[in-house]
């Protein structure tokens, strides 16, 4: 790709204007222990930071991975340069929504379907094999989940886009 034509020099000011990001030296501490880096596609915090720094607007707009963050803040605690990557991820999400009003984040669809953004309560067999008690999750409780969906439907973003959630 052509960095001169294909990138916006000051994109970081739009997305995450604290300047913290500049200190990033790509050490990848943020991803080596990130739970969402196990996903498919994986959440690669370092790569997101790089895209912001290089100003790769289009690639960032199309990137769904910021929504896979589970907000555990490990990256934030471990970052040796105090980039505050979790804050950056939230900023990218906000920027994506600002730039695309039609953006229905996949996370909201996940919430509607499962009751959680993350796959909480799916590893039932693994838990059982390890002798752990089953989690009392909303996913395992269809009646509660139905009530939860009704509640969600009353919010504007879901009701405006109800076609995304039904069927």
């Amino acid at each position: 790709m052509d960095l001169q034509e294909g990138s916006i020099k000051d994109l970081w000011k739009d997305i995450y204007p604290t300047g913290n990001l500049h200190y990033c030296f790509n050490c990848s501490t943020c991803i080596s222990g990130c739970p969402a880096s196990h996903g498919d596609p994986p959440l690669l915090v370092r790569n997101l930071a790089r895209k912001v720094i290089l100003g790769l607007e289009e690639e960032l707009l199309e990137d769904n991975t910021p929504w896979a963050c589970v907000s555990c803040s490990r990256c934030e605690e471990m970052c040796p340069m105090n980039v505050m990557p979790f804050e950056m991820i939230l900023s990218i999400r906000q920027w994506q929504c600002r730039n695309d009003e039609t953006l229905i984040p996949p996370a909201i669809v996940e919430i509607y379907k499962r009751g959680y953004t993350q796959a909480v309560g799916v590893n039932t067999e693994l838990r059982e094999s390890l002798g752990l008690p089953q989690l009392n999750t909303i996913t395992n409780n269809p009646e509660q989940l139905e009530l939860f969906r009704e509640m969600l439907m009353k919010t504007q973003i879901v009701s405006d886009n109800d076609y995304m959630f039904k069927g």
């Binding site: 050490c27 080596s32 290089l54």
Partner: protein, 706 residues
């Protein structure tokens, strides 16, 4: 070995005791979860607690780094604190070599300070040399040090060892001494000599390189001739090859090794120690920062100095081209100041356009031939020591289209252009800097020049300062902003300079499109091919040693490293010395280093030279080669092979002569001679064969041989 650029978040201890780590391999963009037996952390250096104590005692405040801050240019001096000097890790992050250098430099500064106050130096105790009694049958006294019951000695059965040695022919008495290096050691040696009247002394102790001088003096005081004293590393020698030695094994092996030492000592010839007068003049080669600094350091102590510079002006590379460095130094201003001091100093004679063609002689009495390149005239100079400070210069390269476009230039050229206004930072949109151009690769400079990352960061910051809108990319393989210079790397990133890593097998490509460079590269984080049109492509070409080093090394009979820098005798413990005594080394002639390290080395080299120049004469232990005239056939092969020019054929007397002052006892002549007529004193065939016999005779049973 597998190098992975990734920091891990943590190490997890598994129930089976293994250590679990998860990391991303950026080369493949794959995650790995792996078990390890051992995790070793590199935790760097940190100031020690006692620094606080010393800062309080000396009323020298600690800075935010936890160190006592040195002077702007001198690491060992403290601004506003005359008479107080720093060395070692109190002055910053040091390796062994720099710590040793700083110790020497600080000693020199302290001596200079005392001399300025009119305090006399400490006179060395004169100890008379007892007669060698070499014509008597060998009677060896053996002294074994217990090293004050150090753990190193644990497990060695001294009783068994003494008994084994006592049975050897030619051994008079074997005595075990608690601490030879303490006062009781001296008494014990006197006692040993009095009891046995031995004519040779074998000492087994720890760290002979540290205690040799002291122990030899003690032995001399006791009555042993110092050339008849051998000191060996008892613990080092004894442990060799035995991983977990049992007492018996270890003691047996020690006994075998000591027997070989005994044989060597029994056949040792007496060496005559003769005083040689010292010519108190110093020759300093190179009129750059190191040369001028060393010359002044000696001249200030009253030493006449001849300063030789091959160019038409003093100052060297740094003094002529570099106005500011990223850490706030001003080399050009410093050079102007030094030049003034050099020209004004009545003890310094400056020779410009001058090269050293040849040099002969040794410590105290060198004779060098100087050639003036402008007039073609020659002159001869007598001097007692020489300091080599020939410097270095910006490296050459033909990579990345250098030489085909004005838009591709070196960091040095950019620095100059920015300083004199020929390059307007305001007009720059995209600047690409490529580090390690022609460096750290099999062809070209194989080494890291240590200063170019900082140089690039300095230039990049200058551009950003004048034009914050410019985009500056620094393509690097590793950022080498070591020590406290890390702050400039951080500063550069915070200024928005983008660092782009590349590997040797995927270098950025520079192509010219209508005269404008386009850089193609792979972003290593996103693993994506990218291209960028650049207004300037700036190459960090590192530092090349001077071409003239080769000739000069030949003239002085010293060696260069494979990379063309002067090779010190020992990288850790003797960083500014050559194997040839009386020759010293300072600055970038040694290796590439920042300015404050150059000043430190120059101070240390001057001090090393001064330790000899301060005396009137030097006592040379005459371990030199000799000629057995009756065996010599005058083939002169030894004359040709001698690297120090110490051998010559005397036409009149028709014999080979050895210049004892020039001979460094390397033994090349002894190897080359077909008739065994050339021999290094103390290394005769008889001696060495006896040592080999001793080792073979007492070979351990085959089962224990590794």
């Amino acid at each position: 070995m597998n190098l992975i650029r990734c920091r891990v978040q943590g190490v997890m201890l598994k129930p089976d005791g293994n250590l679990l780590m998860r990391y991303l391999d950026p080369d493949t963009n794959e995650f790995f979860v792996k078990d390890y037996d051992l995790v070793v952390m590199s935790t760097g250096q940190a100031p020690i607690e006692t620094h606080k104590h010393w800062a309080e005692v000396l009323h020298a405040p600690l800075d935010e780094r936890g160190l006592i801050a040195g002077d702007r240019y001198s690491k060992v001096r403290i601004a506003g604190k005359p008479g107080l000097f720093l060395c070692g890790s109190l002055m910053g992050l040091t390796d062994v070599s720099e710590a040793v250098t700083s110790g020497i430099a600080a000693a020199g500064e302290a001596a200079k300070f005392l001399a300025a106050l009119g305090v006399d130096g400490i006179k060395e105790e004169e100890i008379a040399e007892p007669a060698a009694r070499s014509r008597e049958l060998p009677l060896v006294s053996v002294a074994l040090c217990k090293c004050g019951e150090k753990p190193g000695a644990a497990g060695l059965d001294y009783e068994l060892l003494s008994a084994a040695l006592q049975r050897q022919p030619g051994v008079g008495a074997v005595q075990v001494i608690d601490s030879l290096c303490k006062a009781e050691g001296e008494t014990a040696l006197v006692d040993l000599f009095g009891r046995t009247k031995g004519n040779r002394l074998l000492i087994g102790a720890c760290q002979p390189f540290r205690y040799r001088r002291q122990l030899k003096n003690e032995a001399r005081k006791a009555g042993f001739n110092s050339s008849m004293v051998e000191i060996f590393d008892l613990f080092g020698i004894a442990r060799r090859g035995l991983a977990e030695p049992s007492t018996a094994d270890w003691t047996l092996q020690a006994a075998r090794d000591v027997k070989a030492e005994l044989e060597n000592l029994k056949f040792k010839p007496p060496l005559e120690v003769s005083p040689l007068p010292i010519n108190r003049t110093a020759l300093v080669i190179g009129g750059g920062m190191a040369g001028m600094h060393a010359a002044l350091s000696l001249a200030d102590r009253g030493v006449p100095v001849h300063l030789v510079e091959k160019e038409a002006h003093l100052g060297g590379y740094l003094g002529a081209r570099v106005e500011h460095t990223v850490d706030g130094l001003a080399p050009m201003a410093m050079a102007t100041d030094l030049k003034l001091k050099v020209w004004e100093n009545k003890n310094i004679t400056v020779h410009l356009n001058c090269e050293v063609e040849k040099s002969s002689g040794a410590l105290g009495s060198f004779e060098s031939k100087l050639r003036f390149t402008d007039s073609g005239e020659n002159t001869y100079l007598h001097h007692g020591v020489a300091i080599i400070a020939t410097g270095a210069h910006e490296g050459a390269t033909g990579e990345y289209g250098y030489g085909t476009s004005e838009a591709v230039l070196t960091q040095g050229e950019l620095k100059k252009g920015l300083a004199n206004g020929e390059i307007d930072a305001g007009e720059l949109e995209n600047v690409v800097m490529i580090q390690c151009a022609g460096s750290r690769q099999p062809e070209g400079r194989r080494y890291c020049s240590r200063i170019c990352c900082l140089g690039a960061i300095d230039n990049a910051l200058k551009i950003k300062e004048k034009n914050p809108e410019a985009r500056v990319f620094i393509f690097y393989r590793d950022v080498m902003t070591y020590g406290f210079c890390e702050q400039y790397y951080t500063k550069a990133r915070s200024a928005g300079i983008i660092f782009m890593n590349y590997s040797l097998d995927d270098k950025p490509q520079v192509e010219l499109a209508e005269g404008k460079p386009v850089v193609r590269f792979t972003d290593p984080v996103l693993n994506e091919e990218m291209e960028l049109p650049a207004d300037l492509v700036v190459l960090s070409t590192g530092v090349d040693p001077e071409e003239s080093n080769r000739k000069l090394a030949g003239a002085f009979g010293v060696s260069l490293t494979d990379d063309g820098f002067f090779a010190e005798v020992d990288g850790k413990w003797r960083p500014i010395e050559f194997p040839k005594v009386g020759l010293y080394l300072a600055g970038t002639a040694h290796s590439t280093m920042p300015l404050r390290s150059v000043v430190l080395q120059a101070d240390a080299a001057a001090q090393k030279a001064y330790t000899y120049l301060s005396g009137r004469e030097v006592h040379t232990a005459a371990v030199t080669s000799m000629v057995k005239d009756a065996l010599c056939v005058r083939c002169q092969r030894c004359v040709n092979i001698c690297p120090y020019g110490a051998r010559a054929y005397n036409e009149a007397d028709k014999r080979i002569e050895v210049d004892a002052a020039a001979c460094q006892a390397c033994g090349m002549c002894a190897v080359e001679c077909q008739n065994n007529a050339a021999e290094v004193r103390g290394w005769s065939d008889k001696q060495l064969l006896a040592v080999i016999d001793a080792r073979l005779m007492s070979r351990p049973p085959a089962s224990t041989v590794r």
